[in-house]
């Protein structure tokens, strides 16, 4: 969003409403029982959509230079690298021995 771009009021309010709806949705979904990993996936999916809405409209990435979006995405990439590789260790350690009782 450059200096000369005035934020559109309707979009802002629309974004807030959408965020509300999604929050209610995510709580509602919590009370529905999905098979195991699905629950987490749905909850995180909704959270990601919400975050994307905030970034695009409230934070103005939708109007901004694409480079700022790239900056943001790079942080996610490096977060994913960190957790991804650490899981390569933590999920694949040998089952501990039980020699000391």
């Amino acid at each position: 969003m450059s200096l000369h771009h005035v934020l559109p009021l309707k979009t802002m309010i629309g974004t807030a409403v959408a965020l509300f709806v999604l929050t209610i949705l995510t709580v509602a979904v919590y009370y529905i029982d999905f098979p195991d990993p699905l629950n987490t996936i749905v909850a995180l999916g909704i959270a990601t959509v919400k975050a994307a809405l905030v970034c695009m409209f409230f934070m103005g990435l939708y109007w901004d230079t694409k480079f700022n979006t790239l900056v943001l995405l790079s942080s996610l990439l490096f977060f994913l690298i960190m957790i991804g590789i650490i899981l390569l260790d933590t999920l694949f350690r040998d089952a501990p021995f039980q020699i000391y009782g």
């Binding site: 501990p96 020699i99 000391y100």
Partner: protein
């Protein structure tokens, strides 16, 4: 010639995995050295040949050369792939114990090592005796902080963690003594936390087993105390001849006046000795760190504690 050189660089190869590790070690050194000499020679040659002769020399514009650049991206790539797969193979060897390996439990404690032979009821401190040509698997654990089990002659190393087990293994190929170091920094006496690994022949090993498997029940208290004192690693912090180590010497301790770090004094009677072993952090002698392990209480039987106290009492 090369062998002399290799011997200068590396400790003797005394385990089955050593040769392969050394092979890779030499391979990287030699190819790295060739590369290095090439680079240095080129720099020196250019620096002499193209040294500045006058202030207004004009240099040619050579901005790139695709073929050269591809060459020096591809050749190193091939090199590193070789190095990687070679190292990978060696790593699998170092990490995968044969299924017929004889198992020994290792405990790292600040700052000594305990080796337990679970089938024979033997406990050794700072010394490990193993038969030659027999794969040995070590199940390792730490009582406090991270230590690391490192035997240069065997080319093995593995961290020893609290609350978790790690393993390593080796098969010694010749009879002799090798030194074992603690390779993960663990505090004051980290550099003194070493042990001797005695590789013995099959027969000697049998003898050793018989000798060690003494009957603890029938031993006189003082003798048992001395044995326990050594086996539990007390001697890595306490001398019995008056020298000051991490902890106070045990000589002349009994019945002496002890000044504690809160300023009070106590007489080192039997009861005090017992308390000092079972709950060492409760009364800390002035001038010493408060780092005597607290777990002895759970690990020693009552008889062993009695024995220790008797033993210490006799050290006058």
């Amino acid at each position: 010639m090369f062998e002399r050189f290799a011997e200068f660089f590396l400790p003797p190869q005394r385990s089955t995995v050593a040769a392969e590790v050394d092979g890779l070690f030499h391979f990287i050194h030699i190819s790295g050295f060739i590369l290095f000499i090439g680079i240095v020679a080129t720099i020196v040659y250019f620096a002499i040949k193209y040294r500045r002769k006058s202030e207004d020399e004009i240099t040619p514009v050579i901005s790139h050369n695709t073929r050269l650049e591809i060459a020096w991206s591809v050749i190193p790539t091939i090199m590193i792939l070789i190095v990687f797969s070679w190292g990978f193979r060696g790593f699998l060897n170092v990490n995968t114990a044969p299924s017929d390996a004889f198992e020994i439990n290792v405990t790292g404690v600040s700052w000594f090592w305990e080796f337990e032979y679970p089938d024979d009821g033997i406990m050794l401190t700072d010394e490990l005796v193993v038969p030659v040509n027999q794969p040995i698997k070590l199940n390792m654990r730490s009582e406090d902080v991270i230590h690391s089990f490192f035997v240069p002659d065997f080319r093995i190393k593995k961290d020893v963690l609290p609350g978790r087990n790690t393993t390593t293994w080796f098969e010694a190929t010749e009879v002799g003594e090798s030194i074992m170091f603690c390779a993960e920094y663990c505090g004051t006496e980290h550099s003194a936390m070493d042990a001797t690994i005695r590789v013995v022949s099959e027969e000697e090993y049998e003898e050793f087993l018989e000798e060690e498997a003494v009957d603890i029940e029938d031993m006189p208290l003082a003798e048992l105390g001395e044995l326990t004192f050594q086996q539990q690693g007390c001697q890595s912090c306490h001398s019995v001849d008056g020298t000051d180590m991490v902890g106070p010497s045990m000589q002349g301790l009994y019945q002496s006046e002890r000044e504690l770090d809160d300023g009070s004094t106590v007489t080192a009677d039997e009861d005090y000795l017992r308390r000092s072993i079972v709950d060492p952090r409760a009364e800390v002698t002035a001038g010493y760190p408060n780092n005597m392990p607290t777990f002895y209480g759970d690990r020693l039987s009552d008889r062993e504690i009695d024995a220790l106290v008797t033993y210490i009492k006799e050290l006058q």
